[in-house]
């Protein structure tokens, strides 16, 4: 049986746990041969740091993820990607230039996530964070966004752009909103009976409020297509 892997970043797990929707992960895993993978940096951000630093607001989320790791629902993958990460970081942070200076837009953890996906040959990523996602999916749209925000011309360094595009070629991204919809399609909301479409809409709103980069327009137009 083929097992499908998805590499999750911290932003998607933050949205799911904050919305109390993380139980969709084991729900889907029971039904389908999916492995939800995380790099060590995500475990550190989501579990180790909140617990060790006693970050009270995030402790419950931390224990929920820790439980999923301990139960094998979420699989931690440890790979040495330091060199690749540094290289990718250098490339990604030298694509956009404003007033002759490079815009530093990507962080070590985000670069490590992409490098891990590449090394594992995992093509599906679960990312709620907007910037890294847009950089992978449409860097030109990000350029326009910077120009709108800063009212300056943004230059793109062609070689770095092409190197980055080559590096992420084949990677596809879904957000926690799509995981929630996948849950809906597979009866996660069945207990809501005739309220299940309303429950789906409410869950999508909740995940948006928890920081998943999905718009109200996307949610509303999608709900309009749900039977």
């Amino acid at each position: 049986m083929k097992i499908y892997d998805i590499l999750c970043d911290s932003s998607s797990l933050i949205s799911l746990t904050d919305s109390d929707l993380e139980s969709i992960i084991p729900f889907l895993q029971k039904k389908f041969p999916i492995r939800f993978l995380i790099p060590p940096s995500v475990e550190y951000e989501m579990v180790t740091r909140p617990i060790d630093s006693d970050l009270r607001e995030f402790l419950f989320s931390a224990f929920k993820i820790k439980k999923d790791i301990n139960n094998g629902v979420i699989t931690k993958v440890s790979l040495d990607v330091d060199e690749e990460t540094q290289k990718l970081l250098r490339i990604a942070n030298n694509i956009f230039f404003a007033k002759g200076k490079p815009l530093r837009i990507v962080h070590l953890g985000e670069a490590a996530m992409i490098a891990t996906a590449k090394k594992l040959d995992v093509n599906t990523l679960l990312i709620d964070e907007r910037t890294t996602r847009m950089l992978i999916e449409n860097p030109f749209q990000l350029k326009s966004h910077f120009e709108n925000e800063f009212k300056v011309n943004i230059m793109m360094q062609k070689k770095n752009l092409n190197d980055f595009i080559d590096y992420v070629r084949g990677m596809e991204i879904i957000r926690s909103s799509e995981i929630v919809i996948l849950g809906y399609e597979n009866d996660f909301f069945e207990g809501y009976n005739d309220l299940k479409v309303d429950a789906l809409r409410a869950a999508l709103y909740k995940i948006k409020y928890s920081g998943c980069s999905v718009s109200f327009e996307e949610i509303n137009s999608f709900i309009g297509t749900v039977k």
């Binding site: 499908y4 530093r104 962080h107 985000e110 890294t132 800063f150 998943c212």
Partner: protein, 184 residues
């Protein structure tokens, strides 16, 4: 003397603070944080954050009480010191002046503690969310402001930032990717 952009910002903040001009300080917060993304120096980020925090200080009557005059004077003195030294001191020493500023503000709040989140953290959180909205990643925003990703994400989720940009891929197309995961 030639006024560098950083010194200019400090002087503007000092003026806004002295005049208890909340609007000016809020505007400076926006301008400086934009510059911070373009130039990426820690003191620029700190200045942006403090423009916001000071705007809050001058807008709340509870902080404007006579008994706080001494602390307000101390803040002005630190800003003057910063203005004199921001271009001369190494970054690490400059950041120490910002810590002095932070301590003064925390002490002001200690007198009348109303919220779990203090003004300093709130200012950093707003700055982090603004940086994320402008297009830097949540990891970078967290790194430069010292705010947890969870807090930034939660704050950003309650703003309209995700409604202002068209998504490069529709939900329908993303669901096709999701269906591949379950062998569909």
């Amino acid at each position: 003397m030639y006024e560098t952009p950083l010194r200019h910002f400090v002087n503007d903040i000092l003026l806004g603070f002295k005049n208890r001009n909340q609007k000016k300080l809020r505007k400076l917060n926006d301008i400086i944080l934009k510059e911070a993304v373009l130039h990426f120096t820690k003191p620029t980020f700190e200045l942006g954050v403090f423009a916001y925090i000071l705007s809050k200080l001058v807008s709340k009557t509870r902080f404007l009480k006579k008994q706080n005059d001494v602390k307000f004077k101390e803040i002005e003195a630190i800003l003057k010191d910063l203005s004199k030294n921001i271009d001369r001191l190494p970054e690490s020493q400059c950041l120490l002046l910002f810590r002095d500023l932070e301590n003064d503000i925390i002490q002001l709040e200690e007198e009348d503690k109303r919220y779990i989140t203090n003004l300093d953290t709130k200012g950093r959180l707003k700055a982090a969310a603004l940086l994320y909205a402008q297009g830097v990643s949540i990891g970078v925003a967290s790194d430069v402001t010292g705010i947890n990703k969870q807090d930034i994400q939660s704050y950003a989720g309650k703003t309209r930032m995700f409604d202002r940009l068209e998504e490069p891929i529709s939900i329908k197309d993303r669901m096709k990717i999701a269906h591949k995961l379950i062998g569909g």
